[in-house]
């Protein structure tokens, strides 16, 4: 399984209604993106970070591991903002680019922490069956739910195939590595379609009529949680406006 999904399934906010967690984390994300990076993104990111490792009790190691790849993108994409191209292949360091580069990188890091707050507290299996209430066609949500269920099996299959290939020196040279990778892709294709066919047969035997609706556990939206979320978001917007106007 994926570390963020494990955190979402085992965390103390597991039993909370997904709408509550979406309102909190996506509200903070909207603040981080829409408010001026200083101080809006800083406050939003800091609030999300405190909630993530505090009440939501997500391990900082999980957060840092998940943030590695997006941070690499942010670092790479920020380099062009620090240089100016006066003519093709003539680059000079742009001192005026430091502030916009820092603002862009800061906004992105703050938004990433807000996304991690959502990912590490809200299992997708709770979100997908409720998406049709937002107007997403049931056929699309059902395909997404099937994809979600199957990908864990396929990830496990790929891991097993890769270990078997590595034990047989399948990654010794570039040539063998490519052959092994093709084997992994071929194996998951065959397994995915074989599983789909078996599911098809199993459902047909049970009188499948075209609907894959599953029972969704009824959860009440907590009024105090929603009120605290609204209070936090209003506070961040207000403080950002006040502090921002003084700078």
């Amino acid at each position: 399984m994926f570390a963020l999904d494990i955190a979402a399934h085992t965390g103390p906010w597991r039993s909370r209604h997904p709408a509550e967690k979406a309102m909190l984390s996506l509200g903070l994300l909207a603040c981080a993106v829409a408010l001026p990076p200083w101080p809006g993104a800083l406050f939003s990111g800091a609030a999300a970070a405190v909630l993530l490792v505090g009440p939501a009790r997500v391990s900082p190691a999980v957060v840092l591991r998940a943030a590695r790849v997006p941070l690499l993108f942010v670092a790479t994409s920020t380099v062009p903002l620090l240089v100016t191209m006066h003519a093709p292949a003539r680059l000079t360091v742009n001192a005026e680019g430091v502030v916009p580069a820092a603002q862009t990188a800061g906004r992105s890091v703050a938004a990433l922490i807000c996304l991690l707050l959502f990912s590490a507290t809200t299992p997708l299996s709770d979100v997908l069956p409720r998406l049709h209430r937002l107007g997403v066609p049931p056929a699309v949500t059902e395909v997404a739910a099937l994809t979600y269920r199957m990908l864990f099996l396929l990830v496990d299959s790929v891991r097993a195939v890769r270990e078997a290939q590595a034990a047989r020196l399948g990654f010794r040279t570039w040539r063998t590595a490519y052959r092994s990778l093709a084997g992994q892709a071929g194996a998951i294709f065959v397994r995915a379609f074989s599983r789909a066919r078996r599911l098809e047969e199993g459902l047909a035997l049970r009188g499948y009529t075209g609907s894959l609706a599953v029972q969704v556990e009824a959860r009440r939206v907590s009024a105090p949680f929603v009120a605290a979320t609204v209070g936090l978001l209003v506070l961040i917007v207000a403080v950002s406006v006040v502090v921002g106007s003084q700078w």
């Binding site: 963020l4 999904d5 994300l29 981080a32 993106v33 943030a67 790849v69 997006p70 993108f73 790479t76 994409s77 062009p80 100016t84 191209m85 006066h86 093709p88 680019g97 916009p100 862009t104 906004r107 992105s108 890091v109 703050a110 938004a111 990433l112 807000c114 996304l115 991690l116 959502f118 990912s119 997708l124 056929a139 699309v140 395909v143 997404a144 099937l146 994809t147 269920r149 199957m150 990908l151 099996l153 396929l154 990830v155 790929v158 490519y178 052959r179 990778l181 093709a182 892709a185 071929g186 998951i188 294709f189 065959v190 995915a192 379609f193 599983r195 789909a196 066919r197 047909a204 075209g210």
Partner: protein, 225 residues
């Protein structure tokens, strides 16, 4: 190559959602009609989505000694066609954002446009052109996967250049800067993805020919034993 969460200014992020929406809505309508005609298709589409997700998670050795991930859009477009890929690609990008923090929710529109719309359409157009011109399956698959990957990378560079124009030379200067910095990894990766896709299709032709015929990739009838 996913644009990270919050990297684009809010107006541009919203604009890319608006640009991607018609393609995703068209793909969703096609998917709903297909599922209504043949409910069993839903299971195959779920399998196709999971395959695309796992394909994009495979680690390809790169020239720098590290590992990179293929986009999977080229092979996906050849196997499942671009309209379906706009929906499946959208689902996969949403899962990558939520399960792996690759990409993001505010940048989902921009990432869908580059990876689930332009990449698959370019890949499929190249594939169809080469096949109609009498080219072999290997050549068509290699060109589709490599150029689909390159198109994705070019669109991402355009998106970033539009968001952050160069102070001296504007959009074009920014495009050269972003294009140049990503070219170091993306051009070798596009070639690697092309080679890998050829090997995958060769393998599938041997072990899963019936599925490829059902998807319309192979035209020759199965050989009777």
């Amino acid at each position: 190559m996913h644009i990270a969460e919050g990297y684009l200014p809010p107006v541009q992020a919203a604009a890319w959602f608006a640009v991607s929406a018609p393609f995703v809505v068209h793909g969703s309508r096609a998917l709903v009609q297909q599922v209504r005609r043949d409910p069993e298709t839903k299971l195959l589409l779920g399998a196709a989505g999971a395959f695309t997700f796992v394909l994009s998670a495979l680690k390809i050795p790169s020239v720098t000694g590290s590992c990179s991930h293929p986009t999977g859009t080229g092979l996906g477009a050849v196997l499942f066609r671009p309209p379906v890929m706009s929906v499946l690609g959208g689902i996969v990008l949403l899962f990558q954002a939520v399960l792996l923090a690759h990409g993001g929710l505010s940048t989902l529109g921009a990432n869908i446009f580059s990876m689930a719309i332009v990449g698959p359409w370019v890949a499929y157009a190249v594939y169809a052109l080469i096949r109609r011109a009498g080219g072999g399956l290997d050549v068509a698959v290699f060109a589709a996967a490599a150029l689909g990957d390159l198109a994705t990378y070019c669109v991402t560079s355009v998106q970033l250049a539009l968001a952050f124009p160069d102070p001296a030379t504007g959009f074009l200067g920014a495009l050269m800067k972003f294009g140049g910095i990503f070219a170091l990894t993306q051009i070798p990766l596009a070639i690697s993805e092309g080679l890998l896709s050829v090997l995958v299709v060769r393998l599938l032709t041997r072990v899963s020919g019936d599925d490829l015929r059902r998807l319309g990739v192979l035209r020759t009838p199965a050989v009777q034993a």
